[in-house]
């Protein structure tokens, strides 16, 4: 296998990453032996990476660490640690519940299934590494291709665990199987589905 200089330029970054296939790698190494320009390119690119990876390249403003430590201490004193587990879930869920109307909520409160424990368990069984599409606008996350992704211009892809961590709420349609207790929709799920439908209708497109 013989490679040209142009091929080397295209592959040099992958070569440095160790990601080129063995045959291509061997061909590139042969090429570096005979082509001074490409050998120079390799050395220079390697040096660039080494320079910027050096810790000394990162400079912070004077007092940065001190201010950060102070900020954390304030956050700890203000009880900020751990708050988001609840607040990140409750705010969007509460919004959905409000959109759906209060009647069913009242019903669910008087039912046998306690609302608080279901909230805490929402999405608990979603595989953490499952790729999901999050909608920044609606603060929800979906499986790719879900028809209920609103504002498609604000979507991003990430792992389910990251979406949950960032406070996104699982779509009650495509994530439905993860939102059920003992395999059947809960009162809250039913409520949220109604809310989701209301949201979709409200979108107008």
């Amino acid at each position: 296998m013989v490679v040209t200089c142009e091929q080397v330029w295209r592959e040099i970054s992958s070569y440095l990453e160790g990601e080129t296939e063995p045959a291509l790698r061997a061909a590139m190494e042969d090429h570096f032996q005979s082509c001074q320009a490409c050998a120079s390119l390799l050395a220079g690119t390697r040096n660039v990476v080494a320079l910027y990876r050096d810790e000394r390249m990162i400079e912070v403003p004077a007092g940065f660490g001190r201010r950060l430590e102070k900020k954390i201490a304030e956050g700890v004193r203000g009880g900020r640690a751990g708050w988001s587990t609840w607040s990140a879930w409750l705010v969007p869920v509460a919004a959905l519940v409000l959109i759906g109307g209060g009647i069913r909520l009242a019903n669910s409160l008087t039912s046998n299934s306690p609302v608080k424990s279901q909230l805490a368990e929402l999405g608990h069984d979603i595989p953490p590494d499952m790729p999901v599409v999050v909608s920044v606008a609606t603060r929800t996350f979906h499986v790719a291709g879900c028809d209920f992704i609103h504002n498609k211009d604000t979507v991003r892809t990430m792992k389910a665990s990251e979406a949950i961590r960032e406070g996104y709420v699982p779509c009650v349609r495509c994530m439905r199987k993860y939102l059920s207790v003992a395999g059947r929709p809960t009162g809250l799920d039913a409520e949220a589905i109604t809310a989701d439908e209301a949201l979709k209708e409200g979108d107008g497109d």
């Binding site: 320009a37 220079g44 990162i58 954390i72 961590r165």
Partner: protein, 220 residues
């Protein structure tokens, strides 16, 4: 002047400083230890925010917010990822959100569509002599390197920063920026080649003229 150092001042904790242990303690409620957990990465957190926002005040603000967000979500952290990666990803998300608020969506989307199609042809093939890592001791050299990085389009700068400075892997870089792995690889290639050319031409302009590696030979 001296700041409280929980770890150093607490004999019970001295000698028991592994990151996993610190994480477990903070997760169990010893939130006062959180700064000790973050401290090794605070510079990288700031650098990540700065590379995206390009404003020192904003970068510091976002770095603080990101760290507080990490503290708030510490119980969500799972050991399958590195703590540093998790922290950097939170920082990048915070910085990107801040930038979105600062810019109009129209400008962003136009910018995003000027992608990396077409090959980048290296311009400079001068011979190299040595790795000039000792040159980093000099502030003006670091400044020039930072300027070169800052001169790249943001799509190249961000990928390079996450992969080569923050040392996230390719997949983590793609996930953090919400782009494909193929895009990360393409942008990384261009970023590295462009920086190499910029630094090579900078050498000719005398950026590193007082370097011990001088005498006209490019170190790359």
């Amino acid at each position: 002047m001296s700041e409280p150092n929980v770890l150093m001042n607490n004999p019970e904790l001295a000698g028991d400083t592994s990151e996993q242990d610190l994480i477990a303690r903070v997760q169990r409620g010893q939130h006062e230890l959180f700064y000790e957990l973050v401290r090794p990465y605070e510079r990288r957190v700031y650098a990540a925010a700065l590379a995206i926002l390009r404003n020192e005040a904003d970068a510091e603000d976002v770095a603080q917010e990101a760290v507080l967000k990490a503290l708030a979500n510490i119980r969500q952290f799972r050991a399958e990822s590195r703590f540093s990666t998790w922290l950097i990803q939170i920082t990048v998300n915070e910085a990107l959100m801040r930038r979105r608020r600062q810019r109009t969506r129209v400008v962003e989307s136009i910018d995003d569509h000027h992608d990396e199609e077409g090959e980048y042809r290296p311009r400079d093939f001068a011979d190299w002599r040595e790795i000039p890592s000792e040159a980093l001791e000099r502030k003006e050299v670091r400044q020039k390197l930072a300027e070169a990085l800052g001169s790249l389009d943001r799509k190249y700068r961000e990928v390079f920063m996450l992969r080569d400075m923050e040392q996230l892997n390719i997949q983590e870089t793609a996930e953090t920026l919400g782009i494909s792995i193929a895009s990360v690889k393409t942008r990384l290639l261009r970023a590295r080649l462009m920086l190499r050319d910029l630094l090579a031409s900078g050498w000719e302009q005398g950026w590193f003229s007082r370097s011990p590696a001088g005498k006209g030979n490019k170190p790359w």
